[in-house]
């Protein structure tokens, strides 16, 4: 695979690094090198191991085996302090800026020189920051509050912070994911300049056009292994897709319309939120499980939360059973017969300190009232019905009186789903239904979802696990960068097709990267 001999001694050499979480092998014998002055692209599907590798470099997790060398010296990075000392800086998609502070204080975070008296030496800090700002071409003052800056300018501040710390390597995790075309182009220019000045850049991106245009070296991950290494040679998007999927594949066109018998339950027309979701249209029929595939960050969670009334939409409409609805809160959606099993099970889905009984009954307390005029709950009946739906989805627990937090991930997820089975929903939305769930529980979850559909329920399921979409769905819509890039139904639904549609060009930031080199 190696196209040319590396021109410089590597800054970082990663040799045979492995790491497992529970039973999942997140990294299996990964080796590659990061060269100074080179933009190094890391690509791969969700869960392929890119993030795990970066976490090992950042000192967030130690590898189980294998070595990391910096400047030819073997190092053990066991904390962010170690990483900073080695000159490694990490910029994440979730910005680590303090919104109430100005640019200078954010850039100086953690690196302020002290005077003889132990007080922060603001004068030299300011001089230093001004140099960095000039270098990065910041078009805003050091005194501007962070909250006044655009996302692109906030990225500049983070890069500035890395430079203040004399970073020799800067890892950027999906820096262009939420940038406009012009902003992304500007960022690419800055990345190139940093590399030209000798800094090593790790550039994680799902935008393959951008990666092939910007990165001199590229490492492709699949299932915790490196499937392709490009060193100092041009690469094409189709080569990268092949390495990501593991074999050749044709890029499918939009799937043909299958014949449907059920009535339309949900119809979404041109729904947008102004940033992450753009003009999405879809339908879900009675008795149908429709999947939403794509990469993390493609806008699927935002889409389903808008349908559910949990987030504001900026345009488009939602029809339920042919009637236009505009939910102002999830309470309206629940009343109209919808249910949502959210992506973040522990923080958004469940009350971990509370019992299974409480968690299951909490969404439908109204039907447990003794009478219309007496707002007292029939507690025993509630416990019985909680027990019966818990049995239906095969929750493994001593009784419904144990706290949900004491259950395994799979059983927690079953409880989150069981909540909506008390009163058969018109439309059930599942966001990553089997994330963090073991194989057995996953099969149970799928069985329950299929049963719901066979009784005439409509299901919309977001999943980044393509095998799951294949196993579960009658029809799959794939999203990339906020738009639907294709629809697959029946036998057309294959993991490969979903992957290639996931990388299909969306709004055109990748095109900007290509344009910049042309």
């Amino acid at each position: 695979m190696t196209a040319s001999v590396p021109s410089a001694a590597p800054l970082i050499r990663i040799t045979d690094v492995s790491k497992a979480f529970g039973g999942v092998q997140a990294l299996a014998g990964v080796s590659f090198e990061i060269r100074p002055g080179v933009v190094h692209g890391l690509v791969g599907a969700n869960g392929a191991g890119k993030s795990t590798l970066i976490r090992c470099l950042a000192g967030i997790g130690l590898p189980d085996s294998g070595t990391i060398e910096v400047d030819g010296v073997r190092v053990s990075i066991s904390g962010s302090d170690d990483a900073t000392r080695l000159g490694l800086a990490f910029i994440h998609q979730e910005m680590s800026l303090i919104p109430g502070w100005d640019v200078l204080r954010n850039m100086a975070l953690g690196v302020r020189p002290r005077t003889r008296f132990g007080v922060i030496d603001w004068r030299s800090t300011r001089q230093r920051a001004a140099e960095v700002a000039r270098r990065l071409g910041m078009r805003f003052g050091l005194g501007s509050p962070i909250s006044d800056l655009s996302t692109a300018d906030q990225w500049l501040v983070l890069i500035g912070r890395a430079l203040m710390r004399d970073a020799r390597m800067i890892a950027m995790d999906e820096p262009t994911a939420s940038l406009s075309v012009e902003e992304a182009t500007r960022l690419h220019g800055i990345v190139r300049e940093l590399a030209a000045a000798g800094t090593a850049i790790i550039f994680v991106s799902h935008r393959l056009d951008e990666v092939s245009a910007l990165c001199e070296d590229v490492t492709v991950f699949k299932d915790g292994r490196v499937t392709k290494r490009v060193v100092g040679a041009p690469t094409s998007k189709s080569e990268l897709v092949r390495a990501i999927v593991g074999r050749d594949l044709e890029i499918p066109e939009h799937g043909q319309e299958a014949v449907r018998t059920g009535r339309t339950v949900l119809e979404v027309r041109d729904l947008s939120d102004g940033t992450r979701v753009q003009d999405v249209s879809l339908t879900v029929h009675e008795g149908e499980v429709v999947g939403l595939g794509g990469l993390v960050g493609a806008g699927r969670t935002e889409l389903v939360k808008m349908i559910y009334g949990a987030e504001r939409s900026a345009g488009g409409e939602v029809l339920l059973d042919g009637h236009r609805v505009s939910f102002r809160s999830p309470a309206d959606a629940v009343r109209a017969g919808m249910g949502l099993v959210p992506e973040e099970r522990r923080s958004e889905g469940l009350f971990l300190d509370r019992t299974i009984d409480f968690n299951i009954n909490v969404a439908t307390l109204g039907s447990l009232r003794r009478s219309r005029w007496l707002p007292l709950l029939r507690s025993a009946a509630g416990r019985r019905r909680a027990q019966s739906v818990a049995d239906l989805v095969a929750v493994k627990a001593e009784s419904v009186n144990v706290p949900v937090g004491s259950l395994s991930g799979g059983n927690q997820q079953k409880v989150a789903i069981a909540r909506w089975l008390l009163e058969t929903p018109r439309l059930l939305i599942l966001d990553e239904p089997s994330r963090g769930v073991d194989v057995g529980a996953r099969a149970e979850v799928h069985r329950v979802v299929r049963e719901l559909a066979s009784r005439g329920g409509a299901v919309l399921a977001v999943s980044s696990d393509n095998e799951e979409l294949v196993a579960l769905c009658d029809r799959v819509l794939v999203m990339a960068e906020g738009r639907v890039t294709g629809e697959l139904s029946g036998a057309e639904i294959t993991a490969d097709r979903i992957v290639s549609l996931s990388f299909a060009r969306g709004s055109g930031v990748g095109a900007a990267a290509e344009g910049a080199t042309a």
Partner: protein, 340 residues
């Protein structure tokens, strides 16, 4: 991207979390975290029972006396418990009680209203104060500490404005009889406390609203996504606290036989102390009604015993602050060690 790694991390069992057996020291800490306040009360009862001269502490009269002294604090603290369960804060309750005291006496003396009408109007005032607090916190998104402190300060002003600074006296005996009377040997304030205790316990544990209050307090976002109207639930909790504060204010005015500006202000700290002491009772780390009752009783058992021993009054305040900090600190520390 971080969500991508959340997958495998989620699968991994937290290191060493499920342990087959727990060492004795950990069990001891669990006991302290769950029963800390009850243990403190038990110790005090034993000490006072043996050291107060002539066994004057452990007489039925003295125990009823303690309950009677606890009643008004308990009622206002039960209401506050609802606000804390829902995950908010209310600093206006003491001032609301003061205003309720001057309003109910004013309505009786100055306006000459019938007793039930005056009481009903005053309870409505409490509900209105709670609603204003709740709407400020939910709709205007003002931090609860700031909103209720602001509202409370305005209530102080209203109390002074309404009374022009001088107490309202010469209240009808029908009003003072509310708290003077007794039923089967138990003073009326204790009955009021028991009724509010029962009503709010049922409300919190056996009604849809109570379950929703608990849900919003336990995980606001999960409650919202489960279809609960979190704003309404929060407003309801503030309204309950307002009504309880007004009831305490009315009963206090009846006991004092006058409507006095700032008479109820002290209930603010007393009720917070009680609710936080209650956290270290039975259900570790949660606010709940029974815990609050125990919290009120602990403070009053201590007060009563210390005064029977002839301890100077200033020590009683040192005791009150001390036991609050100690009980909560102990239970927090114990909980942390018991869990790890």
């Amino acid at each position: 991207m971080s969500t991508e790694t959340a997958g495998p991390v989620d699968v991994a069992p937290p290191p060493g979390a499920p342990r087959p057996h727990r060492p004795a020291s950990r069990i001891g800490l669990m006991i302290v975290s769950k029963y800390g306040t009850l243990i403190a009360m038990g110790i005090m009862i034993v000490i006072f029972g043996t050291s107060v001269p002539n066994g004057a502490f452990l007489t039925s009269n003295n125990l009823l006396n303690i309950l009677n002294q606890s009643a008004l604090t308990a009622i206002i603290a039960f209401g506050l418990t609802m606000v804390l369960v829902v995950g908010e804060f209310d600093l206006s309750i003491g001032y609301a009680a003061s205003l309720a005291g001057v309003l109910v006496t004013g309505l009786l003396v100055n306006q000459g209203l019938a007793l039930p009408v005056a009481i009903l109007l005053t309870l409505l005032l409490g509900a209105a104060i709670g609603a204003v607090n709740g709407l400020l916190v939910t709709k205007a998104r003002v931090n609860a500490v700031v909103a209720t402190l602001g509202v409370g300060t305005m209530l102080i002003g209203l109390s002074y404005g309404y009374t022009a600074g001088s107490p309202i006296i010469a209240v009808p005996t029908s009003f003072t009889n509310i708290t003077l009377g007794a039923f089967i040997g138990v003073q009326n304030p204790i009955w009021f406390m028991l009724i509010v205790l029962g009503v709010l316990w049922v409300l919190l544990n056996r009604t849809p609203l109570g379950q929703r209050i608990q849900a919003v307090g336990a995980n606001k976002e999960a409650a919202r996504l489960a279809g609960i109207r979190t704003d309404r639930v929060k407003v309801a909790a503030f309204v309950i606290a307002g009504v309880c504060a007004a009831l305490t204010g009315i009963l206090l005015a009846s006991l004092l036989g006058s409507g006095t500006v700032s008479a109820g202000d002290g209930y603010l700290l007393d009720s917070f102390a009680a609710v936080f002491l209650g956290v270290a009772t039975l259900r570790d780390g949660e606010f709940h009604i029974i815990g609050t009752l125990v919290g009120v009783l602990v403070v009053n058992v201590g007060f009563n015993g210390l005064s029977l021993l002839g301890t100077p009054t200033f020590w009683q305040f040192v005791f009150k602050g001390g036991i609050l900090v100690l009980a909560v600190a102990l239970s927090t520390v114990a909980r942390r060690y018991a869990k790890t």
